[in-house]
Symmetry: C2
Subunit: 164 residues, 2 copies
């Protein structure tokens, strides 16, 4: 067995430096998205971003496109394209916002609600598997930890010794 063998699960005998948390989270996100893509593809012909828009509209009725987009953390451009894809497929209706001419009012069509009803339980079950995979002390702090990391990731002014 050669020295310095690296296994995928990090369970190698010799301690090695940990990967940066940013890379770990990136890898995790790619795995979760790949799994989500496979599940959504198995049950529909939606893309993952399209499913996400439907899913979050179903979680709560947004009072405008801006609130929905910001809640979902989508880029303006990507949100626009995904919403238009869903409108073109007949899963979403788009109308003018009653108070703000810049915004859109979005709602699911019956076909959109049907997709939500069909896929919702599947993806909820996967989410439950994620939660069940965690120990109680992990489950207790995971969301607050991710939230704090998110805020730390929004810092753009690294004035601490940066040669800007």
């Amino acid at each position: 067995m050669p020295q310095n063998r690296i296994t995928d699960d990090g369970q190698s005998d010799r301690p090695r430096r940990e990967l940066p948390l940013s890379l770990v989270i990136h890898q995790l996100s790619l795995k979760i998205d790949a799994q989500g893509r496979a599940l959504v593809a198995r049950h529909s012909d939606l893309t993952l971003p399209q499913w996400r828009v439907i899913r979050v509209i179903g979680l709560e009725a947004p009072d405008g496109s801006t609130a929905l987009r910001k809640l979902m953390g989508f880029d303006k451009s990507q949100f626009s394209k995904t919403v238009n894809q869903l409108r073109a497929r007949g899963l979403l209706t788009v109308s003018a916002h009653p108070e703000d001419g810049r915004q859109l009012q979005l709602s699911l069509t019956e076909a959109g609600r049907a997709v939500l009803d069909r896929l919702g339980p599947v993806l909820d079950a996967r989410n439950d598997l994620f939660l069940q995979a965690l120990a109680p002390e992990e489950l207790k702090v995971i969301r607050s930890a991710l939230s704090k990391l998110g805020r730390a990731a929004e810092i753009t002014d690294f004035s601490k010794g940066d040669d800007e």
Copy 2:
């Protein structure tokens, strides 16, 4: 103030259903990557994937391209392209693997090490900010939690009632 106002930071007065963990992690990953991209761009003309390859080679000397690729969690195709970009820029040398004709042996050039020396501290400082943002009980379990989620995301057989 209209009812059902949604704020970005989730600190709204009324409780609302939480976003699925998968979407939260996806959003977090995008924010972290955007910040990383900005930092890397400020200090070099590398892309984030290119920086990541250099960074992980610097963390430990891999015994072949396969071990490095798997450690980093890169797609085969993306890894190949990024390695070739780095070779073309003179930051990486690529040679034949001594034992396995399928694999490559990768090492940083002097220019590659110089980039690593210049950017390493910047990105390490950011990683430290992430760790410092977390409370002790969050820091204690974050890696094990992410690791468990990663394993749960590798499940491909959802035979529990799926209409396959």
